[in-house]
């Protein structure tokens, strides 16, 4: 019968009883950093529907209608570049740190 090699025994025991180095996702989620660019959110009460964010968006993801007072964003087109947040005159747009959940194409208010 073959003797188990002592260094190998140490490694086996370590692997059996050590805590796993990976995270138990989705029970335990990773908290993104405060500065992470996740998705764009609008505080719709403050919005004046000026349309500057629509003009400046490089991906063409925002559609604003001043007459009907509607502001929609296509979250799948948005690249989270933060340009609209910077140019908004009322500062009602903000960049949230969580990424959007997977979805099929739909415009979102």
């Amino acid at each position: 019968m073959q003797k188990v090699n002592p260094p190998m025994l140490k490694i086996i025991l370590k692997n059996l009883f050590q805590k796993a180095p990976t995270r138990m996702y989705p029970i335990e989620k990773r908290e993104p950093f405060a500065a992470t660019r996740g998705h764009v959110d609008n505080d719709i009460d403050q919005c004046i529907y000026c349309g500057i964010c629509q003009k400046k968006c490089p991906a063409g993801a925002i559609a604003v209608d001043r007459a009907e007072k509607s502001w929609v964003i296509d979250p799948l087109r948005c690249v989270a570049c933060n340009y609209c947040v910077e140019v908004c005159p009322k500062k009602c747009l903000s960049m949230e740190k969580n990424y959007i959940t997977p979805m099929t194409c739909t415009w979102r208010k």
């Binding site: 993104p32 950093f33 660019r37 490089p58 690249v79 989270a80 570049c81 933060n82 340009y83 960049m95």
Partner: protein, 359 residues
């Protein structure tokens, strides 16, 4: 004389990060000639200048490539700033230097992992990328994105880094340096790695000069050209020497990149001690009028920017010549005379970034 056969390599191949096609002309398992064919990821980004004004084109320029994205954005912004004659604040230049050295760090660690994967050493690949995760965490904390940073704009940078974040970053880098040393010991000393890399794919000094090899590919053969010596951004305040090796084989190119990792860590530490306080951007009015050439040093070599404006808000021409484009003739020379099994490793030693090559 043996029989000749043609074996197509790519565009889909497990070792390639991006699609490139090579027709290998073989004579009994030795490669005689290689004929490249590119154009699988061509997006016509140079024509998009006519539809996006010069402020928004920064976002397009950043997305030319995923690995070297920051330096593309920085090069474009520097180009426009030179055409318009703007002098951006010193702190913004230091911040750009720090982020581009981080870019270089993460790109070289990525390349080390891919090289290990190319000769079958998968656990070394996983270890390199595990170390790279720490750098991506630092980048996400300071810029908001892991791969595409979005911090460059014409006139400066969009985000600032506070002083205690900078100190913490230096401490993390110091801890990482010992781990990187352990990782690189395997690349430098391991017997099986040496067998795959030493003496394989030799590019002589004359060939490297004649074919226009740039970056670590050229520096591994003895060419001493490092565009950071031009002194753009904050590089004329920092103290460093270009690293080069004389042998010209794949092992020399690997050693150049490993030494550049240590050099980047020391450059970041120098920049953090010397960074001045002040503004991070300036107001930009008017439109660019005129033309200019700009050359930067990407992780893969010398990148060329040419821009021409005519006074309207849409530029007339933007031309980006990326380092992999200049290294393709050198690749064809390296491949002549090697064995068929060495082809994936050799293609990876020039660090191909094909989405840069065909914007």
């Amino acid at each position: 004389m043996g029989e000749r056969s043609i074996v197509p390599f790519g565009p889909q191949h497990p070792v390639l990060p991006e699609p490139i096609h090579l027709d290998l002309v073989l004579e009994d398992e030795k490669v005689v000639e290689a004929i490249p064919s590119i154009g699988f990821v061509h997006r016509g980004l140079e024509k998009l200048v006519e539809k996006r004004d010069f402020h928004e084109y920064t976002f397009v320029a950043e997305r030319i490539c995923g690995i070297c994205s920051f330096i593309h954005g920085m090069g474009y912004c520097q180009l426009i700033e030179k055409i318009m004659g703007l002098e951006i604040p010193r702190r913004a230049q230091y911040l750009r230097t720090i982020w581009s050295e981080f870019s270089r760090l993460h790109s070289h660690l990525l390349w080390l992992g891919l090289l290990a994967d190319a000769f079958g050493f998968e656990s070394l690949f996983m270890q390199s990328w595990r170390l790279r995760e720490k750098i991506l965490d630092i980048l996400e904390e300071t810029t908001g994105g892991r791969v595409i940073f979005g911090v460059n704009k014409v006139g400066g940078v969009r985000r600032d880094i506070s002083a205690d974040t900078l100190q913490r970053v230096v401490i993390v880098l110091k801890e990482m340096e010992t781990e990187i040393k352990d990782l690189c010991k395997v690349f430098i000393n391991d017997y099986s790695v040496e067998k795959r890399l030493k003496g394989v794919g030799v590019l002589s000094f004359e060939d490297a000069h004649r074919l226009g090899a740039v970056g670590p590919t050229g520096r591994g053969s003895g060419l001493q050209s490092d565009m950071r010596k031009l002194g753009y951004a904050a590089y004329n305040d920092l103290d460093f020497e270009p690293i080069f090796e004389k042998d010209g084989d794949s092992y020399a190119r690997c050693i150049v990149r490993i030494k550049e990792i240590y050099q980047s860590i020391s450059l970041i530490e120098q920049a953090v001690t010397k960074i001045p306080l002040g503004e991070i951007d300036m107001k930009v009015t008017g439109n660019p009028n005129g033309e200019h050439f700009e050359r930067l040093e990407q992780p893969r070599g010398e990148v060329f920017y040419y821009g021409r404006g005519n006074g309207s808000k849409f530029l007339e021409r933007v031309r980006v010549r990326t380092p992999t484009f200049a290294n393709v003739p050198a690749l064809l020379k390296i491949l002549q005379g090697c064995e068929l099994t060495d082809v994936p490793v050799l293609v990876l030693t020039i660090d191909p970034c094909i989405s840069c090559t065909e914007r």
